[in-house]
Symmetry: C2
Subunit: 142 residues, 2 copies
């Protein structure tokens, strides 16, 4: 099982690996992210999760999302100072931020691109991660 697969079942495993418990809140939040693979804010996740867990609190949504990020099941994405977006796509990808619609699109990276981009770093720079963000206009699907 590679680190790139995302299934609801992967969750219990990853949590256990980190010595954390599987809870209804964590499961439902992860399910919600996998079901509609867009880039919701914590508030948006809160709204979607409420139908399943009507008494969940916003603090718990933040806590669980943070846990999922720590377990490497979800990526946190930021544009300028906007609210953090949560992305369950674990493949190496860039983000395209559509300035008209506010939508965020995943752009898969060709094999080797990150390695190549990293070669621009002068000696002495040791990058643990590289992030690529595009901003512009995306053609709407017709």
């Amino acid at each position: 099982m590679s680190t790139l697969t995302s299934t609801p079942d992967a969750l219990a495993q990853r949590l256990a690996d980190s010595g954390l418990r599987s809870t209804p809140q964590r499961e439902v939040i992860y399910d919600v992210l996998l079901k509609k693979r867009d880039h919701p804010t914590a508030d948006e996740v809160f709204a979607r999760v409420k139908s399943e867990l009507p008494t969940i609190s916003l603090a718990t949504v933040y806590n669980c999302l943070e846990t999922l990020v720590q377990c490497n099941l979800v990526r946190a994405v930021n544009f300028e100072r906007g609210p953090t977006l949560y992305c369950p796509n674990l493949r190496p990808h860039a983000h395209f931020h559509d300035e008209q619609t506010g939508a965020t699109h995943d752009i898969d990276l060709p094999e080797g691109l990150l390695a190549q981009v990293t070669t621009i770093l002068p000696q002495g720079y040791d990058a643990k991660s590289v992030e690529i963000i595009f901003r512009g206009k995306a053609q709407s699907a017709r």
Copy 2:
């Protein structure tokens, strides 16, 4: 005079071009950014500017920085949800965020790299800007 040069004198010109006034606040703030070419926050700029303009307000610092960004004399840079950083380097460059020290380093881009990265976009995506962010550890200058 290319768009890549940064001189105090360029400011009056750019402001005029946009129908804006040259003010002491705007001049001193721009000078402060050019003098120490790091990536200060608005608060940091506020602190540096106060010695020259003791009565300046933080709101004005925000207003002026925003004006400089609109005039393309300064770039605003964000890491996660941290305070916005202001960068007077107008050459195409990436940012390296040193996670140990919190320092931000400019990484000049080789000719053609942005064009090449942009080729990963599928048809229908029209990027107006590309941003590259590295995170990791940078060797301290010894």
